[in-house]
């Protein structure tokens, strides 16, 4: 078959390919809401993280204004440690060349590795938070009638930390699985890239 016929064949197929189908239209109309919810969720996650830092700093300032220097120090140090952990987890560069699928796979591997780091940062923050809660409970900081000296609340906080740590564990396993999956995909593509 000559080149002209080949091109004609492609042209016919392209026309067929692009003719609209009801199934496709349905598909694209229905995905909008779910997509918007995921975008919103992504923003909410970031906003919650930022709000947590701000809240700790505000609490520290309030405690300092009330003359509870020890408690204020704990809150401010916590906020600084959390910010440092978060920055450490996010500092893996996600920019870079993404001109080809192989490079996109590399990018996906970096993203997945960043997720693993996020999990480690969250483990660390949980441990630091538990330590801070215990320090506030055990040592005579600030107001003796404050919530952080209440044993029942301490137990409640520990349950929340345990549930959170389990959640992070699940996320960690998911992130590690993604790293392995993309590494396997990269190996597949690298070995087949130049096959005819």
């Amino acid at each position: 078959m000559n080149i002209e016929n080949e091109q004609e064949e492609w042209k016919t197929m392209k026309t067929q390919w692009k003719s609209t189908s009801v199934a496709e239209m349905l598909m694209t109309q229905q995905l909008r809401w779910g997509l918007r919810l995921r975008m919103l969720g992504s923003w909410i996650y970031l906003a919650l993280e930022a709000a947590a830092f701000v809240m700790l700093i505000v609490l520290g300032i309030v405690q300092a204004a009330m003359g509870h220097a020890g408690v204020a120090t704990v809150f401010i140090v916590l906020a600084l440690i959390f910010m440092a952990s978060s920055l450490w987890a996010r500092r893996l560069s996600l920019r870079g060349a993404s001109a080809s699928l192989l490079e996109l796979i590399e990018l996906a591997i970096r993203r997945a590795r960043r997720s693993v780091r996020m999990a480690w940062a969250n483990y660390f923050m949980t441990v630091v938070s538990i330590a801070a809660v215990l320090v506030l409970y055990l040592f005579p900081f600030g107001d003796p009638s404050a919530a952080y000296h209440d044993g029942a609340r301490l137990a409640g906080a520990m349950v929340i930390f345990a549930v959170y740590a389990i959640g992070v564990g699940v996320y960690h396993a998911y992130a590690r699985r993604r790293v392995r999956r993309f590494l396997a995909l990269r190996a597949q593509f690298a070995s087949r890239a130049e096959e005819g």
Partner: protein, 166 residues
């Protein structure tokens, strides 16, 4: 210098292309819908990194294609079931695929879905009006390899679209 397009504009301009790419890699309509959503979410997240060096259509197609391949690899538990081998053709189309194959468009889609991955990748992009050079750059292959794959894929497609003898 081109300015970054609004995400909503991108969706309305390229939603059918993304839907077709996703449908090429996932025959189940519900899963294809989820895959398209995943692709658009990935495009939204990657949009700040877009530079005008590549056209926005290439950018969108590349991410959609990547998501779709990644999805296919995950579903097939690579390398056990759907290795990227040239001789692999899926011979068991599910019922909804048969239903979609009622028209010419459907039969082309069904044929594309049955192509081995290494042929499906360039074919989908070719059908979306990318040039062989663009496809080569996008897939990270040499132009020669793309040309060979497109030729073999065209022959395979022709065979797959032949009506079966009664």
């Amino acid at each position: 210098m081109s300015s970054r397009p609004r995400f909503e504009d991108l969706v309305s301009q390229h939603q059918t292309m993304v839907a077709r790419i996703c449908a090429s890699y996932e025959r189940d309509r519900d899963l294809a819908r989820d895959l398209a959503q995943d692709a658009w979410f990935a495009i939204w997240r990657a949009l700040p990194a877009w530079r005008a060096e590549a056209s926005i259509k290439t950018f969108v197609a590349r991410i959609a294609q990547f998501r779709a391949i990644s999805h296919a690899a995950q579903r097939a538990r690579l390398p056990q079931r759907e290795a990227l081998t040239p001789d692999l053709v899926d011979s068991n189309p599910p019922p909804e695929n048969v239903a979609m194959a009622s028209g010419e468009r459907g039969s082309l889609l069904a044929a594309v879905q049955r192509l081995p991955l290494i042929y499906r990748q360039p074919v989908v992009l070719m059908l979306e009006d990318f040039s062989p050079a663009e496809i080569a750059a996008l897939l990270g292959l040499s132009a020669n390899v793309v040309g060979v794959r497109l030729n073999r894929a065209r022959v395979l497609l022709r065979e797959l679209m032949q009506p079966e003898a009664p």
